[in-house]
Amino acid sequence: MSNKVIHALYNDDDILMDAVKKVKAAHHHIDEVFTPFPVHGLDKAMGLAPTKLAITAFLYGLTGLSFAIWMTNYMMIEDWPQDIGGKPNFSWFENMPAFVPIMFELTVFFAAHLMVITFYMRSRIWPFKEAENPDVRTTDDHFLMEISVHDNEKELTALLQETGAVEINVIDKH
């Protein structure tokens, strides 16, 4: 019984937002909401924690910057110093102005790519991944709210009906 869920479909983002607020006010846990486009404020209304991806991007950027500093120092100063137009080849710091573009590009490269990879891993999206939206209309113009049923099917259905759902289905989730 415990893996029974209710799928309530809405056809408008404003009605959905009101519904989410009402369901939360009635102290029900909303498992998931599937939407065709980003609905602003939905994450807050559902009580989702803010994402920490921006912080990871900052750390990845620092990694890229450090890598660039290590690489230019190792290749240009330590391993094989060359006289290039009389530029100082004995001290990384004195040659540093010429390395600024490389440091900048690698910072951006690491921050952008590693953040996006983290996003894909965390949201479990990658090539050949099967889609998990329960209804194909949720990528078109419908909004689907998923709530677990704990012996309160009737009460939930009544509540969702009241919030303006256009369709309510009770589904056995495997």
Partner: protein, 465 residues
């Protein structure tokens, strides 16, 4: 309704009586329907040009760079002109999606997808030229800092040409990832609509299994914002570094401190012109007139006027300084009395005409909001910006410090063929894209429909909210 408020004075960005479902249908239509005759004609022409280009590239590689019109003094000409031209065109996409996102400009949403596609395809073309110019393209990987057999001789991190390698690869790969992440929800929309099993499989693969959970969208928006923040300085850095290929040399005419900002402005100028050219055709062919409207065209023209103005001021200051120094060398730079009256005078005056004179027509509102007018002016700018790079490279190199070395550059049919080939390659990629990819970021457009849709605005303004 009040959360969707937008000032009535702002014109709607989505025209017609559209619902969310209508947007889905409109944007899926060009992909689900059959291509018309015009598409096949354009595709065939592009493919022929592309094949001709491949032939010329193979001839160049097989025989050597001697098949181009280069000589001892003019060691860079059409190849680098084309490289800089394509990189410049590739600047609008990321500017639209990143800078305009940071400035919260909603009009970007109808055009960012195609502009980014254009960026990526243009940077492909740009990347070809330095690789072909190496003469031995199979050694192209020597530009990467990898341990090697040559006495661990590393790449030279002091060189602007190597900075270019890093800047362009970072720009291309980050733009690609930015573009693809934005495409995921739209591919998911196509996947969920697809009826043919093969189509469904392809779009399921391309969409990476996007499901549209609230948490996914929260992360999606954060990632877009941070990528925009990273891509904004990145897009400025790319053409800055391209300009350093010239500015850090000691040639009069190239050794110029205003090159970085002036190149960046020129790049945005030419990039927006190319977006204008492509979208002018695409909105008609794909029946997306309700999404890419007069308002979008006008806004893009305003960016063109601003960046074109910066470029014009840069030309004027280059011209003035060349004259003011009183140095005879400076009289042979691309912006000087010597250039205007010399053997390359026609190239000089083409630049002035196409890049400065013609774009001034955009001050007239009637022309600024006209599709045909904008289209024609954008073509002029594309030509003008090509001449800018040609002038900077060929005019400066044709007159060195020693008059006995003065020479001219005459392109051979191979120079021309390679250039035409890249235009064909670009056309092939863009036409295939327009048939298989959602050309408008439909998820984003849906999110502004209630704010800026014509029907919603009317409803709201009528009720005096």
């Amino acid at each position: 309704m009040s959360s969707h408020y937008e000032a009535p004075i702002r014109e709607p960005l989505v025209l017609g009586d559209k619902s969310y479902h209508d947007i889905t249908v409109d944007i899926a239509k060009p992909i689900e329907g059959k291509a018309n005759k015009n598409w096949y004609i354009a595709f065939t022409i592009s493919l022929i040009a592309f094949s001709w280009g491949i032939g010329c590239i193979l001839y160049t590689i097989g025989t050597g760079i001697g098949v181009w019109g280069l000589n001892k003094n003019i060691g860079w000409a059409w190849d680098i002109t084309n490289f800089v031209w394509w990189v410049g065109i590739g600047h609008a996409g990321t500017l639209i999606s990143a800078v305009l996102l940071l400035f919260r400009q909603r009009w970007r949403m109808a055009i960012n997808r195609s502009a980014e596609a254009m960026t990526i395809f243009a940077v492909f073309q740009a990347g070809l030229f330095p690789i072909i110019h190496m003469g031995r393209p199979w050694n192209a990987y020597w530009v990467l800092p990898i341990p090697n057999q040559f006495g661990s001789l590393w790449v030279n991190f002091n060189s602007p040409l190597l900075w270019d390698v890093f800047a362009i690869s970072t720009y291309l790969s980050v733009s690609l990832v930015f573009w693809w992440t934005g495409l995921l929800p739209d591919f998911a929309m196509l996947r969920d609509r697809a009826i043919k099993p093969f189509q469904k499989k392809i779009y399921a693969l391309l969409s990476f299994g996007w499901s549209g959970r609230a948490k996914d969208w929260q992360r999606f928006e954060e990632v877009s914002l941070v990528l925009a923040g990273l891509a904004t300085p990145l897009v400025l850095s790319v053409h800055t570094i391209v300009s350093m290929d010239f500015a850090t040399s000691i040639n009069p005419g190239w050794h110029s401190t205003i090159f970085p900002p002036y190149f960046v402005a020129g790049a945005i100028f030419s990039g927006f012109a190319m977006v204008q050219t492509l979208l002018g055709v695409m909105r008609k062919v794909t029946n997306l007139e309700n999404y890419i409207t007069r308002l979008h065209v006008e806004y893009m023209n305003m960016v063109i006027m601003l960046t074109g103005g910066i470029v014009a001021v840069a030309y004027a200051s280059e011209f003035f300084i060349a004259w003011y120094t009183g140095s005879p060398y400076e009289n042979f730079t691309y912006m000087s009395v010597g250039a205007a009256t010399g053997a390359y005078g026609w190239a000089f005056w083409s630049l002035i005409l196409f890049n400065i004179a013609i774009p001034q027509l955009l001050w007239i509102k009637k022309i600024r909001v006209s599709f045909i007018g904008s289209f024609l002016i954008s073509i002029a700018i594309n030509i003008g910006m090509w001449f800018e790079r040609f002038d900077i490279i060929a005019i400066v190199l044709s007159k060195g410090h020693l008059p006995s070395t003065w020479t001219r550059f005459e392109p051979t049919f191979v120079d021309v063929g390679v250039f035409i080939g890249t235009i064909g390659f670009f056309g092939v990629l863009f036409l295939l894209y327009a048939r298989t990819f959602p050309v408008i970021a439909q998820a984003e457009v849906k999110s502004i429909l209630k704010v800026s849709g014509e029907n919603y605005k009317k409803l709201r303004d009528g009720s005096h909210e």
